[in-house]
Amino acid sequence: MTTGLYVQLLNLSAGGLLLAAVLVLWRRELTVIIRVFAAQGVALAGLVAVVAMHEGSPELAGVALGVLVLRAGVLPAVLRRALATNRSAAGGDVREVRPLVNVTASLLAAAVLTLLALAVSQPLVQLAPSPATQAVPIGMAVVLIGFFVLVTRRRAVSQLVGFLLMDNGITAVGFLTTAGIGLVVEVGVALDVLLAVLVLQVLTGRMREAFGGTDLDELRELHD
């Protein structure tokens, strides 16, 4: 693969990653948000695949396949299941009705967070300038946007997506900086994320049983 093509593909997949994160902020229908999240999984797998081709590493290509299956297949399916149980119970409980910060302000916040990510990542880029590390700020921006979704959205499923956006961003930073942090740790991390999401999916079910919905504003039992 020529260097020019490598850089273009790398930037394309990294751009897709960021675009998907912003789309999550923009759209309100939870089904669409889940679809966007799956698309981001594809972009992330593409990014890992590009790095794998560049380094000529078949092991990394296998990891890319694993990323694709987990993040574009399994995790969106779990989210869809969490949503389906909600819908059947609450009759159309599928929109992010009143986010804590409205859509326009959220998009502005995303712009600010992206600039912040660029500023914070300067030492990371300077340590070893290369096409891959120059894309690291995008990974950081996705982490920050994910955190923003996590704190400002009020539906259980949107919070889950926020957590997973953070995780996608971290994975992207990992592969852009060092081509991974060791197979044992990576498999462990993937397993932990999957289990955490499954646990949260079960909890959304229980939340619906106990509260009659998954609006997190209803969580007001515990306070001082």
Binding site: F147, A156, F163, G169, T178, V189, L200, L203, R206
Partner: protein, 516 residues
């Protein structure tokens, strides 16, 4: 020398036991269930792990070097000490658990099936904590710490009430997000290690060796993320909001384990990070971070304890206070302060688990402070344990928290840093405020006329119909009483003399400070 040869072959196997034994215990509960024959499996497993940890500690001190198994496990003095803390608190809670489960089953809040699931999850939880402190690689330690969140999520939400589900949700979301920040920190640390050209990866011992050549800019970002991330799991401000909810909703033995050891296991990760950060960035950087988080945690605990109405939340906020004190001691650094921090971990683990186990006994009726009056008259043993436990928690002699708080305060005031000295002074004021609040709440529960709250323990008039009164706490079982007394006795003994533990504490402090 046949004996020496045997030691060499056996020690690596021993290092696996603290993970393997609880895992086997979990399998037993999954297959056989919770019945008469398996009631004491948890106690047996904790006892075996405790023995193993003591043998490992003796080996590590005897050889003067860590036991390593491949690149996977590494037992140094700090690991051995943490294993002893985990196993001791696990043993105390395991002794009290059968009585707790029997009471829950009798009250119809649990069945043999949920009891089996509960026991299996607790065993896996212990295995995960042991794995976290045994791991040689910081990445593996991260995986194990995140696994504790997943395993305890169902324990927190076991009762499926609105409050329990809410607590479990907040717990998993906040802890997973916080710990994700720590993962990002590890990714960046790994990047810095790779660029340093030493090939260190995330193996802690090799990272310490490579620390002088780590890029300061990247390491700084990584360290902030690691301290905030693992600090979330350790219940340190600013991401502490999950702790009072989770600790007040979990079943009492689980609260004891979470407060007594899980917080410390997360704090252990911060201590390991600090070693690398201090070499790479100088001691000032982590010190400033830790002072800020320590004071914030103490301030949060003090402000929310003053008007607290729920005694399990009261104990939870007290845990935030003690984690703040640990952070302050770690900020002071140095061998004396570090040894005090480690002693504090053990002392707090013992006393807090006693208090949660005792409180859990009350919880089987009510959790509001106002509902409990005159416990001293109706249940003297329980009231005595709770009262003495709270006094121990406040740092009164002869208990070990007195010695460790004194050590932390002396190190903070005498470290030669003006900021640290002022921070320590502020912390001491907050500790006094917290002590006043705890004494006030506890004395209202223990003393006073038994009749003036809604909770009537077995006063003469009500004693005969005790069985029909739903709000009467069941009598303290012998095993629970034994666990409570043993915990307090151990804390008092440690306060008078640390005995053979001093060598281990010194060696562990040496691991963390690099000074003899």
């Amino acid at each position: 020398m046949p004996e020496a040869m045997m030691t060499v072959a056996v020690t690596p196997l021993l290092a696996f036991l603290p993970v393997a034994v609880p895992a086997a215990g979990a399998i037993v509960h999954v297959i056989v269930g919770y019945r008469r024959g398996t009631v004491w499996v948890g106690t047996l497993s904790a006892a075996i792990v405790l023995l193993t940890s003591i043998v490992l500690a003796a080996q590590v001190i005897g050889n003067g070097m860590p036991v390593t198994v491949g690149g996977l496990l590494r037992v140094d003095a700090l690991t051995a000490f943490m294993l002893i803390v985990i196993a001791t608190v696990a043993l105390l809670t395991a002794i009290a658990t059968p009585a707790h489960l029997a009471a829950e089953i009798a009250a119809g809040r649990a069945s043999a099936r949920t009891a089996a699931r509960y026991s299996a999850l607790v065993q896996l939880f212990l295995a995960a904590m042991a794995a976290a402190v045994l791991a040689a690689d910081l990445g593996v330690a991260w995986v194990a710490i995140e696994a504790t969140t997943i395993l305890t999520a169902f324990l927190v939400g076991l009762r499926r009430t609105r409050a329990a589900v809410e607590a479990a949700w907040k717990y998993v979301v906040i802890c997973s997000a916080g710990i994700a920040l720590a993962l990002l920190g590890l990714v960046l640390l790994n990047y810095a290690a790779q660029q340093s050209g030493t090939g260190a990866g995330l193996d802690w011992a090799r990272l310490v060796g490579a620390a002088p050549s780590l890029d300061p800019g990247v390491t700084r970002i990584a360290v902030v993320l690691l301290i905030v991330g693992f600090g979330t799991k350790a219940g340190l401000a600013p991401l502490h909001a999950w702790l009072p909810d989770a600790h007040s909703q979990a079943p009492a033995p689980v609260s004891a384990l979470m407060s007594g050891v899980l917080l410390s296991v997360a704090f252990y990760a911060i201590l390991r990070t600090k070693v690398i950060a201090d070499i790479a960035l100088g001691p000032g950087f982590t010190r400033a971070l830790l002072i800020a988080t320590a004071l914030a945690s103490l301030a949060v605990a003090a402000s929310l304890l003053l008007a607290q109405r729920d005694y399990k939340r009261m104990l939870a906020y007290s845990s935030i206070e003690h984690m703040g004190l640990l952070a302050l001691g770690a900020a002071a650094g140095g061998p004396a302060a570090t040894a005090a921090v480690l002693l504090h971990v053990l002392g707090h683990g013992l006393v807090k688990s006693v208090l949660f186990l005792g409180a859990g006994h009350l919880l089987q009726s009510t959790s509001r402070i106002d509902d409990i009056r005159g416990l001293a008259a109706s249940q003297p043993v329980l009231a005595g344990c709770l009262g003495v436990g709270v006094l121990a928690l406040l740092g009164l002699p002869p208990f070990s928290i007195f010695a460790s708080e004194l050590g932390i305060a002396r190190a903070g005031l005498g470290a030669g840093s003006a900021v640290l000295a002022w921070a320590t002074a502020a912390a001491l004021i907050l500790v006094v405020v917290i002590a006043a609040a705890l004494v006030n709440h506890t004395s209202r529960m223990l003393l006073g006329e038994p009749g003036d709250g809604a909770y009537r323990a077995e006063t003469p008039g009500a004693a005969r119909i005790g069985d029909t009164m739903t709000r009467t706490a069941p009598r303290l079982s012998r095993s629970t009483a034994a666990a409570l007394l043993a915990g307090l006795l151990a804390a008092a003994t440690l306060g008078i003399t640390t005995g053979p533990l001093s060598a281990l504490l010194d060696a562990a402090a040496h691991t963390l400070t690099g000074t003899p």
